[in-house]
Symmetry: C2
Subunit: 121 residues, 2 copies
DNA sequence: CATTCATATGAATAATTGTTCATATGTTTA
DNA sequence: TAAACATATGAACAATTATTCATATGAATG
C-alpha cells in the first residue's frame, strides 16, 4: 500500500534520456487520477461483479433475480451492487418493494470487450 | 471467494421473462472466461501497476529506471512487473545486466483510455 | 398497524495481496 | 574467478476484501 520512497540504492545511472524523463512526467496523469483509475479497475477485478455486469447487459434486473441467476445469496449480490453503484457502473430505480438495477453507461461494455479481446489474444 | 449456492430463500417469483433468462444463459461467457477476465482487470486494479503501464507507454524502460521515476524500490517494481508479465501486458528483453520492459500490445492503451473516459464522466 | 416481502447493511472471518527485507540468480568486468 | 551490478524471488507482515450471518430499513397488503 505504501508507495513511499526508500529508493536509495538504485542503479548507477539512468538509461533514459532527459527528454524521455521530461515527457513521462508531462504525459503522466495526476496522482489522484491514477489512483481513481486503479479503483475503477479494481471493481472489474472480481468475477461476481463481472457476472452481474454481463447479466445486466441483457436486461434491467432486480437484486433477487440476479441472485437466482447467479446462484448466490441476496446479501452477497446486494453488497456487490453497492460497489458497482459507488463506481457509477450501475444505476437503479425503485418500484414498490423491488429495486431494479441497470448498466449506467456504454463504457462498461467497451471495457469488458477490450478485456475479452486481450485474453483471447 | 465462494460463489456457491445457498440461494434457498429468494424472492417468491422471478420478474424476468423466460426469454430473458434463456438469453442471459446463452450470451453469458463461460465461467472460466469470466474468471480470466476478472483476473485481467485485477491487474489493472493497482495504482503502482497503472503507473508502470503509463510510464512504459512513453518508452521501453529498465526496472531500475522505472523504480527511480516512480520513487519506489527495485524489489517492489520487480514484483509488479512479474504480475504484468504474467498477464501478458508487458514483454521484456535482456541486454547485458539490464532488462528492458515494454508494453505488450495495444489493448493496454485502449483499456486505460476507456477507464479514464469513465472516471471523467 | 402488524405482517410479509425485497433489499440494505454492520460485524466477523477467511482469503488475497502489495511492500519490505534478505538473499539468490545472472551478467559483466577487472 | 572474484567483485560489482541489475534483476528476481521467497518469506513475512499489514492491509484490503468477498462472503456469510444476523438484523435493520422500506414498502405493500391484509
Amino acid at each position: 500500500m505504501e508507495e513511499n520512497a526508500s529508493a536509495l540504492e538504485q542503479c548507477d545511472y539512468m538509461h533514459l534520456h532527459d527528454k524521455v524523463i521530461e515527457q513521462v512526467q508531462e504525459e503522466m496523469p495526476q496522482e489522484e487520477i491514477l489512483y481513481d483509475l486503479a479503483e475503477l479497475f479494481k471493481v472489474f477485478g472480481d468475477s461476481t461483479r463481472i457476472k452481474i455486469l454481463y447479466v445486466l447487459f441483457q436486461s434491467e434486473m432486480c437484486v433477487c433475480d440476479i441472485a437466482q441467476l447467479l446462484h448466490m445469496s441476496q446479501s452477497a449480490i446486494s453488497h456487490q451492487l453497492r460497489v458497482l453503484k459507488q463506481a457509477q457502473l450501475v444505476k437503479y430505480r425503485r418500484e414498490g418493494k423491488t429495486v431494479f438495477y441497470a448498466l449506467a453507461d456504454a463504457h462498461v461494455n467497451t471495457i469488458l470487450n477490450q478485456g475479452l479481446e486481450h485474453i483471447e489474444e
